[in-house]
């Protein structure tokens, strides 16, 4: 079987100008002065195969490249070098949310996102109640999204991402937000996805959740995979490293 995600020698470099010269005026006035850009290597030589049905955890400190890697998997960023191939449809939940438009109502946002994720209106009609009840936002669906609290937005975003049928689920820090009830629900969703044999990539600082679900875990440090494999081993290694 083809792997769901196959990453070969992937690197991502962000060019960060030292003095940010964004405007044309600055470019024209200072064209003779060389722009000092610092190359920030967010990801370095990543090799990773994820098989269909695997539940993969990604752990690491802040700024280690976890979210960048997930964004590349979601096709938001393109790699600077290397190859990535994705086999299957993706349901992304990145940076605490999905693509929302604050001026539209919650209901309209559900449809907008569903359609971008590849559903038809009819298919969303069928899922709509499940999404609303999962997010527990019955009374708020006609409200504009910009009036939602951040917790409510995250709940709605995760409800959409979780209720949509995809092959691969990318989740960035779902567990860090939301109240206790919602965290329990999220864990329940992960159980369901695992039971259904879906491929899930979970970025989290919640090591208990990682240990509870992930069949395989990778540890990122400064953009490199320093350890990958059995979850228990990788988590222990991570804990030891941060102690010393």
């Amino acid at each position: 079987m083809n792997p769901a995600v196959k990453i070969e020698n992937l690197s991502k470099i962000f060019r960060i100008p030292h003095e940010k010269r964004d405007t044309l005026k600055e470019n024209i006035l200072h064209f003779h002065r060389r722009v000092h850009t610092e190359n920030f290597q967010a990801l370095k030589n990543i090799n990773l195969d994820i098989q269909p049905g695997e539940f993969v955890g990604i752990i690491g400190k802040n700024g280690s490249g976890k979210s960048t890697l997930l964004k590349i998997m979601a096709n938001i960023y393109r790699p600077t070098s290397g190859e990535i191939s994705i086999n299957g449809t993706i349901s992304p939940f990145l940076e605490l949310g999905i693509g929302f438009n604050g001026d539209l109502s919650a209901r309209e946002n559900v449809y907008l996102n569903g359609i971008i994720l590849g559903l038809s209106r009819k298919e969303i009609d069928k899922k709509y109640d499940a999404i609303v009840s999962f997010a527990d936002l019955y009374d708020f669906m006609e409200m504009k999204l910009k009036n939602f609290s951040s917790g409510m937005q995250v709940r709605l975003a995760f409800a959409i991402a979780a209720m949509i049928d995809a092959d691969i689920y990318l989740c960035d820090e779902v567990l860090a937000v939301g109240d206790i009830d919602f965290q329990k629900k999220s864990l329940g969703t992960f159980k369901d996805l695992k039971k259904k044999g879906k491929t899930v990539v979970l970025v989290s600082h919640d090591l208990d959740a990682i240990k509870g679900f992930c069949t395989k875990t990778i540890l990122l440090e400064k953009g490199e995979i320093v350890k990958a494999g059995d979850t228990q081993e990788v988590v222990n290694y991570y804990l030891q490293r941060s102690d010393s």
Partner: protein
């Protein structure tokens, strides 16, 4: 590119753009009709009552020019910022980015078509008889739309990198308004400058549309070929430039 999924996305984004653009204003959609009409009214008073241009049916002549120019100016100004307004969408979820630009310009196209209805009302109450030549305008509307789309693809991708472009574009549009024969007849411009004016595809489209409705004839096939080729070149350059820039848009916005 033109899969059913992408068309659904396009329709959904275009509709939501349309809702958002007008939902928080009291008169809502009426504004889009009032704006060009107000401009038309002022210009008409100045150039038909205060100063007089020797043009027959000047009110139709002017109105058509204003509506076409307004379409170009408004559509490109809004499309310029389309990635900024859609920031939360394009950094969270993947779909072909060109859809954002197409949706934005389609919303403006709808406004333009409603403005054209106003023009047809004026045309109906004038003494110009109906002619089947009028239908040729469909060709010019399509060309106008693709010119706008081509330009929008370039400036929207550029704006992500150079935020100054919004001010520069405002100035360019101001200049464009005066160097395009919108309020003055081309016959008043010395012959030597005509070829410069005709480098501007909008000047051509405005003049040719006037030929259809007011002078009652379709411009020659050669002229139609020239404007067609101009459209193709602008659209081609726009699409190529956009394809080259597309990947870096979410990183730079």
């Amino acid at each position: 590119m033109l899969s059913r999924k992408n068309i659904r996305i396009l329709v959904e984004i275009a509709i939501s753009d349309f809702k958002v653009r007008y939902q928080s204003s009291i008169l809502g959609y009426v504004w889009t009709l009032i704006k060009p009409l107000l401009l038309f009214a002022v210009l008409y008073v100045v150039f038909s009552v205060f100063m007089r241009f020797p043009v027959e049916n000047y009110q139709l002549y002017l109105l058509l020019g204003v509506i076409i120019w307004n379409f170009f100016a408004e559509a490109t100004s809004i499309a310029l910022r389309c990635f900024e307004t859609k920031q939360s969408l394009i950094t969270k979820i993947y779909f072909p980015r060109i859809i954002v630009v197409i949706a934005s310009t389609l919303t403006s196209l709808l406004t333009f078509l409603l403005n054209m209805i106003v023009f047809f009302v004026f045309l109906a109450i004038s003494d110009i008889p109906f002619s089947f030549n009028f239908f040729f305008m469909i060709v010019y509307i399509l060309e106008l739309y693709f010119i706008i789309l081509g330009v929008s693809l370039i400036i929207s991708a550029l704006y992500v990198k150079f935020r100054d472009l919004s001010h520069i574009w405002d100035v360019l549009l101001q200049i464009g308004f005066w160097i395009t024969p919108i309020i003055y007849p081309l016959t008043m411009v010395p012959e030597v400058y005509h070829r410069f004016i005709y480098l501007n595809p909008l000047a051509r489209l405005i003049e040719y549309s006037r030929a259809i409705f007011i002078l009652g004839h379709i411009p020659s096939p050669v002229l139609n070929l020239v404007i067609f080729l101009m459209t193709v070149v602008i659209m081609f350059v726009g699409a190529l430039f956009f394809k080259y820039q597309e990947a870096s848009i979410p990183e730079n916005i």
